[in-house]
């Protein structure tokens, strides 16, 4: 069976140790985590965790079932294949010498990013988008020279039915 990417989104109790239970379940059972994002929701008693994992059909079923068994997991949904909005964010520090500044600015424009910090030899670019868009941007910036990068994992929300 082929491995596919799955975006799992879950509401969990906002309590100490909950993240450790979830991450521990993945490592203890040999499940894979590609990326992980956590933050409190509007309700301070709950956090939303988004995990991107790669697994075949049987394994992802097992991952979901094991997660649902955790007492602190309130709700879990696999957003793969369903209609959802997905975003990542990155802060990218690129080398910006006078001769390539124009090119960087053009890319920032095309990818609808923002320059959020400027120095004599660098720009820091703030970018958001899907995983594909981020990868494309990073690939184009690489030849120019990426000094540092900070990237989030995917966050995702299910589109409300009309």
């Amino acid at each position: 069976m082929a491995e596919e990417k799955h975006i799992l989104t879950m509401l969990v109790d906002n309590e100490p140790g909950v993240l450790s239970r979830i991450v521990g379940l993945f490592s203890g059972r040999g499940f894979n985590i590609e990326s992980l994002c956590v933050a409190e929701t509007i309700d301070p008693r709950a956090s939303r965790i988004t995990i991107v994992t790669k697994a075949n059909e049987t394994l992802v079923e097992q991952i979901e079932k094991q997660l649902r068994k955790l007492i602190n997991v309130i709700k879990l949904r696999d957003l793969t294949g369903s209609k959802s909005v997905q975003r990542e964010m990155a802060l990218i520090c690129v080398r910006a010498k006078p001769d390539n500044r124009d090119e960087i600015l053009r890319m920032v424009d095309i990818f609808r990013c923002k320059i959020v910090d400027v120095g004599p030899e660098y720009y820091i670019i703030e970018a958001t988008g899907t995983n594909e868009k981020m990868n494309a941007l990073i690939n184009l910036l690489k030849p120019i020279g990426i000094k540092k990068i900070a990237k989030t994992g995917t966050i995702a929300l299910f589109r409300e039915p009309n």
Partner: protein
């Protein structure tokens, strides 16, 4: 009413019907032990915290109630971990209460501080650090609820010393409310209807019952199902006793050391009905080859057990007992005569397997360990509660003692914990003071918690220990004999204590048999002696457990005697 944390704990334990606690005090439990003395809850002081958990576990397995133990912080808690993992793997309901250093010292590497909540996260069903005395009653209530409901399991509650001492207004907690925890008890009716059709269509059906049947108290319903439909029943190690072992429809145990007929029938059946099992590797052998001609129906309360190891045609999530009740009702509507009228061919085939390869051993001049268990079965008329250690002793007990009732075979199935049998026997004896409780042990594993003989003596718990003494770590030696060219690396235990003198040193009775004709008299004397007894049977050193399926081989490919 203002009460301290320790007092509140006592109130809630009483509410939960706790009558016995197995524990070991320390700096971080003094307050709890102090208040425990004021209640009528009996406290059994063990000699090692691992034994406290195993004893609570043994108590839980024979009563179906939640077992409770109480250990101190740091080493007390870490010593308990093996016991907790043992209960977790076998889905045994326990509440483990551990003392913790005061909240202001947590994280300081304080004296006897460990992060036991962190350590036990992967081997508990759930665990708690009680942040303040206001949360204590609710958390204890939740712990009991989680431990006993759904697929049962151990729950640890870590209580800092200052929480035990702090005072608060106590009002009895109302019902437990957990917004995200709702185990499915009621099975899907449509699935059960489909199951009936599959049973009707099957020519060679087979029931495979496990510990889930015993945990859900569903043995009666299982027996009814099997007898009304004439479907033969095999059991996992954990399922022994779920269906009467002496019933003609019983095929005995399935798996690596299962009976020939049980293992063969999984290869030939066209419908396999797994009830309260998890199809672990010791049962399936090579999974691709397992039940390759069969459609599989799987009933279990834990959805994660279903389709974890084997593909399933009809998954049924629900309580085993409830599901079997509904199923039996549906089957009443059917023409059972018609349904069973050509079962004969299948049962004949199984019977032929039985005749061809019975469980057997050859009687020689030395004592055969199987002979000891057979005699034990005869003399106790199959009515004793048998606990085991782990290894050959465990397998021979499983093979040669035919359990007719649930709750009479207490063994560490999933984790395979040596040193389990003696403390578990103590727990079973506490639950049923008048029952005959026998620990079938090996000379290696008995030494892992032998100190508990002192506990047995202190509380006059008259457990009988039957040591099948072969001077080896027998099961590993067997693997070395069969698969490692007889290189017996590190398995020879040729310096064991004199178990008779050791028994006497503890204040118990010690007996020994070295020849086959001494087996029966020694067993008789030992079983008739009031108080704890150790019986040392010097058995044939290089006896192997057969049948044996090599690890990773198809379950139908057995090494036989």
């Amino acid at each position: 009413m203002k009460l301290t944390g320790a007092q509140i704990l006592m109130k809630v334990l009483k509410e939960e019907g706790v009558d016995a606690i197995f524990g070991f005090p320390g700096g971080a439990t003094i307050d709890i032990h102090d208040k425990l003395e004021e209640t009528d809850i009996r406290h059994y002081l063990v000699r090692h915290e691992q034994a406290a958990v195993h004893a609570a576990d043994g108590y839980a397995r024979v009563t179906g109630k939640v077992g409770v133990c109480l250990v101190t912080s740091g080493p007390g808690a870490t010593n308990a971990v093996t016991g907790i993992a043992t209960a977790y793997l076998d889905s045994i309901p326990l509440v483990i209460i551990s003392g913790q250093v005061p909240t202001h010292l947590i994280g300081n590497d304080a004296f006897q501080e460990v992060d036991i909540v962190g350590i036990t996260r992967p081997c508990t069903k759930h665990n708690y650090l009680v942040p303040s005395v206001q949360d204590l009653a609710r958390i204890i209530k939740e712990a009991f609820h989680i431990a006993r409901s759904g697929r049962p399991g151990p729950v640890l509650v870590d209580i800092p010393k200052n929480v035990q001492q702090a005072m608060t207004d106590f009002k009895p907690e109302q019902k437990v409310k957990l917004k995200s925890y709702h185990p499915t008890y009621k099975p899907n009716i449509k699935q059960l209807r489909k199951m009936v059709e599959m049973i009707k269509a099957a020519k060679r059906p087979l029931i495979f019952a496990g510990g889930g049947v015993i945990l859900s108290n569903g043995s009666e319903q299982l027996t009814r199902l099997a007898r009304s439909t004439k479907i033969p029943v095999t059991m996992s190690l954990m399922g022994l006793g779920a269906f009467p072992g002496s019933d003609p429809l019983s095929l005995g145990m399935l798996g690596m050391h299962g009976t020939y007929r049980a293992n063969m029938s999984t290869g030939q059946c066209d419908l396999l009905i797994g009830i309260g099992v998890r199809f672990d590797d010791r049962v399936t052998g090579k999974t691709d080859a397992f039940a390759s001609q069969a459609k599989i129906i799987h009933i279990d309360i834990d959805p994660a057990s279903i389709r974890k190891n084997v593909p399933v045609s009809i998954p049924i999530v629900g309580d085993c007992k409830t599901s079997l009740e509904v199923l039996n009702r549906f089957l009443e509507e059917e023409d059972l005569e018609l349904l069973t009228n050509n079962r004969g061919l299948w049962l004949d085939l199984i019977d032929r397997w039985k005749q061809d390869h019975k469980l057997a051993y050859t009687q020689e001049e030395e004592i055969k360990p199987q002979f000891v268990v057979e005699k034990l079965y005869e003399l106790t008329k199959g009515k004793a509660i048998i606990t085991t250690e782990v290894g050959q002793n465990q397998m021979w007990a499983a093979q040669y003692y035919h359990f007719d009732r649930p709750g009479h075979f207490v063994t560490s199935g999933g984790l395979g914990t040596m040193g389990f049998g003696l403390p578990a026997a103590l727990g079973a004896q506490v639950a049923f003071p008048d029952a005959l409780v026998v620990d079938v042990a090996g000379d290696g594993s008995i030494q892992m918690n032998i100190q508990e003989m002192a506990t047995a003596l202190q509380y006059q718990l008259p457990v009988k220990v039957v040591i099948l003494n072969n001077c080896y770590l027998g099961m590993v030696r067997q693997w070395q004999e069969l698969f490692y060219d007889k290189r017996y690396a590190c398995t020879c235990m040729d310096h064991a204590p004199d178990f008779v003198k050791l028994a006497q040193a503890f204040g118990a009775v010690g007996l020994r048999a070295t020849r086959p004709e001494e087996v029966e008299p020694v067993l008789k004397q030992g079983l008739d002696t009031p108080g704890p007894v150790i019986m040392d049977f010097r058995v044939s050193k290089e006896e192997c457990v057969y049948p044996m399926v090599p690890a990773g081989a198809p379950i139908t490919e057995m090494l036989l005697v």
